[in-house]
């Protein structure tokens, strides 16, 4: 038997793919946890079909989980895979194009029988595992199904139950390949199947069999070692974007003694925020599954009127329905946070795929002059900071605030060094000072120097007042149809939001220097790809810088000045150039759009290529 050669690498991209019923997401999740415990930096990208159980073996039913892990800082789940694990022919067909030349394929041969090959639309049932079409890759064709069945034959389980363990065989095999121990997953399995020890032991047996198979299988020549990353010291946990949003809301409410009320209607990919929050009743969190999207927004308005930290979350189609209610929140000037976990649109669009095409909806999507501050999260862990900041702005400036996330950061995960309570900002909650009275009459719309009114809630004695969606008279809040008053109120509400720019941090450059030839300007989940592309372009000797916007409305006060220092500004977005429009409009600069709307995040190479192309084009001129 040949000893395997250990190969040391900085980072590796591995992609697990199979039927949506193959347990791919669980396998990927477990592998992530293990390498993270080992100390690697990670970035993940689950990619699954919208159908819960698409027909088995078909191209439509392929579910994928991609993970990049490394001993260096990792910003994206990677463009091309080093290792592709496929449970059937369809999974190979869909993913092969993204495997690096010479990359490793681990294939379950049982998923390449005649039926599967036909379902995957291989012409005349040609089998890529035997027809030499994969000669440029390192192919490990293993009959995982058969080996799992063999290993578990004494367990007395049904064939179906046995077959469901085959993902554990794969996982064990991959653990061996990356020099990782299966211990964490064994613990996980014991806990998950606490009530069914037989199933637990079968899964563990499959896992160990896969691991041992790697150890004894003489064809396997290379074993990878990825050293732990040198992340700053502290306590870490793995976090995905939706959980980070949920935790931020809890943190904001607790830190500021406000009760958290989260109202939502189930929608992909935002529902996990509701799921996560509903598990935390111990923190006094109230979750409300409303009868529809409109009701969720309105219930949040009611809760805000009642003095709670009120939040509603959804995705694009739901935000469209909430539009009128958001206008009411603007009119009432009541604090509230609205989360939009964006997905492919318009209409139902691509529910499980990612996109950034709701930016203009967020900024402009209401009737009348209805400005709402808009923030965007750039990574799973950034969701925490952004949601916390949104709560602060909402409460301190008495306004609804929109948070944009998307399917990519919502489901993707990374290690997160979570903050301690003492590091979290305390909000200034505006209560009346006593100045808000004229002739003993309370003035609900009496404002401070930042145009902010106090937050008075029912139950406070001496302050009874009425609010509403009709235009209100300055100070008194009484209904007013006077044209001059209306214009004054429209301006006042707009100025109140503009003034928020004075209370947010100045824009900083993420990488590179002011005055560089090219600025790559991004917002939201494109952060990782742009950051990596910028790093590589700088290493290649180009004068490039990267700015990632968190505050999209209002913009940081120094942004215009900063942008003018760069020769060219290019804006990669998963839409048709929405931020590009805003930048051109606001700063009158010739920003160029790099657009992608394929339901998938940018790859690093895509950004690099497009930036270089734009540069060449400019040079030719």
């Amino acid at each position: 038997m040949k000893e395997p050669v250990d190969e040391s690498r900085d980072e590796v991209v591995i992609h697990f793919a199979g039927d949506s019923g193959d347990g791919i997401q669980l396998t990927g999740g477990q592998f992530t946890e293990t390498v993270e415990l080992f100390g690697n930096d990670i970035s993940t990208f689950p990619n699954f079909p919208a159908e819960i159980r698409a027909p088995i073996g078909t191209l439509a039913g392929v579910s994928g989980f991609q993970l990049k892990f490394g001993s260096v800082e990792v910003f994206t789940p990677g463009d091309m895979f080093d290792v592709l694990v496929v449970m059937n022919a369809a999974a190979l067909k869909i993913n092969l194009k993204n495997l690096k030349p010479g990359g490793i394929i681990i294939a379950n041969t049982a998923g390449f029988d005649k039926k599967n090959l036909n379902l995957a639309k291989y012409i005349d049932g040609a089998n890529p595992l035997i027809d030499h079409s994969l000669d440029n890759y390192q192919l490990h064709a293993i009959d995982i199904t058969k080996m799992t069945r063999e290993a578990l034959k004494d367990f007395g389980l049904s064939v179906k139950e046995v077959d469901r363990c085959k993902n554990m065989f794969v996982l064990g095999y991959v653990y061996w390949m990356f020099s990782q121990t299966p211990d964490n997953t064994i613990k996980f399995i014991r806990n998950k199947f606490k009530k069914n020890t037989e199933i637990a032991e079968a899964n563990i047996k499959a896992l160990k069999t896969g691991y041992n198979f790697g150890d004894t299988n003489e064809t396997f020549k290379t074993r990878f070692r990825i050293k732990a990353a040198s992340l700053p010291k502290g306590k870490y946990r793995n976090i995905n974007g939706n959980s980070a949003l949920a935790l931020a809301l809890i943190a904001a409410s607790h830190k500021n003694n406000l009760e958290l009320f989260y109202a939502s209607y189930p929608i992909t990919p935002a529902s996990d925020i509701l799921h996560e929050l509903s598990r935390h009743k111990n923190f006094g969190v109230k979750t409300y599954q409303a009868e529809d999207e409109i009701a969720a927004a309105c219930a949040a308005i009611g809760a805000s009127f009642g003095g709670s930290l009120a939040v509603t979350g959804s995705s694009g189609p739901g935000i469209a329905l909430k539009g009128e209610a958001l206008g009411l929140a603007v009119m009432l000037e009541t604090p509230m946070v609205i989360i939009n976990v964006q997905r492919g649109g318009p209409s139902t669009g691509l529910p499980t795929k990612t996109e950034q095409a709701d930016l203009l909806q967020a900024i402009y999507g209401r009737n009348g002059e209805a400005p709402i501050p808009v923030l965007a999260a750039s990574s799973p862990k950034d969701c925490f900071d952004v949601a916390y900041e949104a709560c602060r702005i909402a409460v301190e400036h008495m306004t609804p605030v929109l948070v944009l996330s998307d399917g990519y950061v919502a489901n993707g995960s990374e290690p997160w060094q979570f903050p301690e309570s003492k590091d979290l900002k305390e909000f200034k909650v505006h209560r009346p000072t006593g100045d808000e009275f004229v002739d003993e009459q309370y003035l609900p719309y009496y404002r401070d120097e930042n145009h902010v009114r106090p937050w008075v809630v029912p139950g406070m004695k001496g302050y009874t007042h009425r609010v509403g969606g009709l235009e209100k008279e300055a100070n008194t809040g009484n209904v007013s149809y006077d044209g001059n008053n209306h214009e004054l109120m429209v301006k006042t509400r707009a100025e109140k939001i503009e003034k928020i720019a004075d209370f947010i941090p100045k824009q900083e450059i993420n990488r590179g220097e002011a005055g560089a030839d090219i600025l790559i300007l991004g917002w939201g989940s494109t952060f990782g790809a742009i950051e990596t592309a910028t790093k590589e372009l700088i290493e290649e000797g180009l004068s490039v810088a990267h700015i990632q916007l968190k505050y999209l409305f209002p913009f940081p006060s120094n942004l215009g000045e900063l942008l003018k220092t760069f020769d060219k500004v290019v804006v990669p977005e998963m839409n048709r150039g929405q931020l590009t429009k805003l930048i051109r409009d606001k700063f009158l600069i010739d920003a160029k759009s790099i657009s992608k709307v394929k339901g998938l995040p940018f790859t690093v190479d895509e950004i690099k290529e497009r930036v270089l192309k734009l540069r060449e084009y400019a040079d030719q001129k």
Binding site: E259, F261, A263, K281, K286, Y288, A290, E291, D292, I294, A295, A296, A297, C298, A299, A300, I301, G302, A303, S304, F305, G306, G307, S308, A310, E324, A325, G327, L328, L332, R431, P432, G434, F437, E440, Q441, Y442, V457, P458, G459, M460, K461, G462, Y463, T464, H465, R466, V467, G468, G469, L470, N478, V479
Partner: protein, 346 residues
């Protein structure tokens, strides 16, 4: 906290006018809304709730201007959504005494979804639905309760849609207090409003309210001196169903209520109202009043049902509310259908 405006509440002997604001009431002269406003302002001093704990929430429509005229906390919101706002507010502050003011367009058309779910969840709130069978604020289009054939701005040749019955809807939504009253009987209206307030759960009151501009006389059969006795029956718990100065009564023939002459029947023969019997309430709601086209018919006033279910005063009780109601009540499918919609007069 500093208190500068007139304090009130417990033991401060407020009167009705303390609940009026300085805003001019802008309903059309002669509108039925004035009576409802007055009756609510009249009962509030006696419900023993501090003024700052009272909140009026409305949607959009003539009725929904109501909160501006109440010197309490209030919100005039957006069309149809008062019920959803009420649900959020009650969830976070169960101690508030919340009144939702709405109309037939607001809560039976654009906001229908929220109304049924507010009733289903059974928050301890009061829902006051002004039913004038017309859209008033938008100047006279037919509404979901307008009789078939209603001539309105949007139906110049008469509407072809069938109306529905708010009482049946409320019962079908698992309402635990479902009542009907009329703007022109202030004493009875006040009784119902007080009973609704006392009910621990979502109380639903449909109030027949005359729109004297766009739908004048819609409820004349129940308000005209010469007609009202013949056409209205006030339900009273534990009492036989008698009306028209007790000259007429209602007996049950199987599942079918039949009007009889009391010359040949005794009150013991009559249907005895039981306000905790949901099946009877459903039969009552189905069999009387709602006709597709306007004509002579009987209207039942007073509450149809008052179930002592566990109200959803706190959000976490939502499940127990459901279970309790289901255990208590068994739904029997009613097989009797009235095709004409009119009362079968014996």
């Amino acid at each position: 906290m500093q208190t500068k405006n007139k304090s009130n509440g417990h033991g401060e002997n407020l009167v009705a006018k303390d609940f009026a604001t300085d805003q001019d009431v802008r309903w059309c002269p002669g509108c039925g809304d004035y009576s409802i406003l007055k009756q609510i302002q009249t009962i509030l001093p006696s419900i023993n709730v501090p003024r700052e704990n009272i909140v009026f929430i409305s949607g959009i429509g003539c009725s929904s201007r109501f909160p501006y005229y109440m010197n309490t906390y209030g919100m005039h919101s957006i069309h149809g959504r008062a019920g959803a706002i009420v649900s959020g507010l009650k969830s976070v502050n169960p101690d508030l005494d919340i009144w939702m003011i709405t109309g037939d367009g607001d809560s039976l058309s654009i906001g229908g979804n929220h109304l049924i779910h507010l009733l289903r969840r059974n928050f301890n709130v009061n829902i006051v639905l002004f039913n004038n069978q017309i859209y008033g604020l938008t100047k006279g289009q037919y509404s979901p309760t307008s009789p078939k054939g209603q001539v309105s701005k949007s139906t110049p040749f008469g509407s072809v849609d069938r109306p529905f019955n708010p009482i049946t809807l409320a019962l079908g939504s698992e309402g635990t207090f479902v009542a009907r009253a009329i703007d022109r009987n202030p004493i009875h209206l006040r009784e119902i409003l007080s009973a609704a307030h006392d009910h621990n759960g979502a109380s639903f009151i449909e109030i027949y309210q005359n729109c004297n501009v766009f739908n004048d006389g819609a409820f004349e059969e129940f308000t005209d001196k010469s007609l009202k006795d013949k056409n209205t029956l006030y339900l009273e718990n534990g009492r036989p169903l008698l009306f028209d100065n007790e000259s007429k009564g209602i007996v049950l023939d199987g599942f079918k209520p039949v009007i009889v002459d009391m010359d040949s029947y005794s009150p013991d023969d009559c249907w005895i109202h039981d306000d905790e019997d949901k099946i009877k309430a459903s039969i009552l709601a189905e069999f009387f009043d709602y006709t597709e086209e306007r004509g002579n018919y009987l209207v039942l006033l007073e509450y149809f049902i008052k179930i002592r279910g566990i109200p959803m005063s706190r959000y976490s009780r939502i499940r127990s509310t459901f279970i309790n109601l289901k255990e208590k009540l068994i739904w029997i499918h009613c097989s009797v259908v009235i095709t004409s919609g009119k009362l079968n007069k014996a």
